[in-house]
């Protein structure tokens, strides 16, 4: 019997590059934001329900796990936003030179990191 021919490796050996890494990060942050949106709704419902509910939710949010998750969601939001703008520009037909692809990619990473830090500094100051 003829054995089936092997399939050459793809994801297992292909070098991670800014192109593919930012693409998978865009998808990943999109999923994280979807998972996070019910918590956002619970937060608003807790606020509408009154001081006790809100305090309970705020305690959860202030726990180390809550803070870590919120930080992840903040970065996800800004990354998905910035990279989404990058995709819009591409869909309009601009920014396809390899140099531009890489410059805009690094810019998206830098700007989303910066916006995350700014949002957290602002948030912690308001909270204090």
């Amino acid at each position: 019997m003829q054995r089936e021919r092997p399939l050459s490796p793809n994801l297992q050996i292909y070098r991670p590059q800014l192109t593919s890494v930012l693409s998978i990060t865009h998808r990943l942050t999109g999923v994280l934001l979807s998972v996070g949106s019910p918590f956002f709704v619970i937060w608003i419902v807790a606020a509408a329900d009154g001081a006790r509910s809100y305090a309970a939710f705020a305690d959860m949010l202030g726990s180390p796990l809550g803070l870590a998750l919120s930080f992840m969601w903040t970065f996800s939001l800004f990354f998905h936003l910035c990279n989404g703008v990058r995709h819009l520009v591409w869909d309009a037909g601009y920014g396809f030179e390899l140099r531009t692809i890489y410059t805009s990619g690094w810019a998206v990473l830098a700007v989303s990191a910066l916006l995350t830090v700014i949002a957290w500094i602002a948030g912690l100051r308001l909270g204090a």
């Binding site: 054995r3 089936e4 021919r5 092997p6 399939l7 050459s8 490796p9 793809n10 994801l11 297992q12 050996i13 292909y14 070098r15 991670p16 590059q17 800014l18 192109t19 593919s20 693409s23 995709h87 591409w90 869909d91 309009a92 037909g93 396809f96 030179e97 390899l98 140099r99 692809i101 890489y102 410059t103 690094w106």
Partner: protein
């Protein structure tokens, strides 16, 4: 330092490959085993190891990785020179496609150090120790570095890569203005090596239904030809959630093209043309 051209080889890489298990999502017959090692001859000073994917269809065994240590002082400068040296002097069963040895035929496209390129235009000095050589990705392997390209050529045929006209043929050639001809620059140079399609993650996940960057670049080459009169029919064929729109603008294609072409831009141009047609 941003990458400027597809032939920029990164000096430093955080990850050589994605952090997934070696045999992640791999069918039993495709699992890779460790093979033989051929050490360098005694007395050599400058050597480079080549870890090469091997598959023998008649052995009834799984593919393996063989490692060949090459004396660089007795070898040409290109990866293809090393492969030919191995075939001539070490293991004559090593099988690969090659023809022009100057980057115009596209036969020796393969995965070198994790990205797709032509073995004849990649300097050995730009590879790492050990240099890893795999066949083009996600294709059924006939032998060693020779993948079965039939499906990719069938996808190429699907975009009807020839001039289609309805008007009566003129007395002489169908003429084109120099600026109309210039619109084909950057698209007509494609040598169909399939480095881009083999390196496209979207094509990995939907190889049957997504046409892939090489075929779509060719499609754009005919869509943008001023003499072609089948633009409507060509667009009808492409207006499909999979054939065209499985492109998620990952742009591995543009990063890897050994002819410095831009399949990503070509696909975006097709998408734009489809939107303009609707409005």
């Amino acid at each position: 330092m941003p990458v400027r051209s597809s032939d920029d080889v990164p000096r430093r890489t955080l990850l050589r490959r994605f952090p997934v298990p070696r045999n992640f999502n791999v069918s039993p017959e495709s699992r890779i085993e460790t093979g033989k090692t051929w050490p360098a001859p005694v007395g050599t000073t400058r050597t480079r190891k080549f870890a090469i994917y091997r598959f023998d269809p008649h052995a009834g065994r799984n593919p393996r990785i063989d490692t060949f240590e090459i004396d660089l002082d007795d070898c040409g400068p290109m990866v293809l020179d090393a492969l030919i040296k191995i075939k001539n002097e070490i293991d004559p069963t090593l099988t690969f496609r090659r023809s022009c040895r100057e980057g115009v035929c596209g036969s020796c496209a393969m995965n070198i150090d994790g990205t797709n390129w032509l073995a004849c235009t990649r300097f050995i000095s730009d590879t790492r120790e050990p240099a890893t050589i795999y066949p083009l990705n996600n294709l059924r392997i006939i032998k060693d570095l020779v993948p079965d390209l039939s499906h990719l050529f069938a996808q190429y045929a699907l975009v009807k890569p020839w001039l289609q006209t309805k008007s009566l043929p003129p007395e002489r050639e169908r003429l084109q203005l120099p600026e109309e001809r210039r619109r084909l620059d950057g698209y007509y140079e494609c040598i169909l090596c399939f480095c881009c399609t083999a390196g496209c993650p979207s094509h990995w996940w939907n190889p049957q239904r997504f046409l892939g960057p090489a075929a779509l670049l060719q499609s754009w080459r005919w869509l943008s030809d001023s003499r072609d009169e089948a633009t409507g029919e060509r667009l009808d064929e492409l207006e499909d959630p999979f054939r065209l729109y499985r492109c998620h603008t990952i742009l591995n294609c543009t990063r890897t093209c050994p002819k410095h072409l831009n399949p990503g831009k070509a696909i975006a141009s097709i998408k734009k043309l489809l939107i303009e047609r609707r409005s």
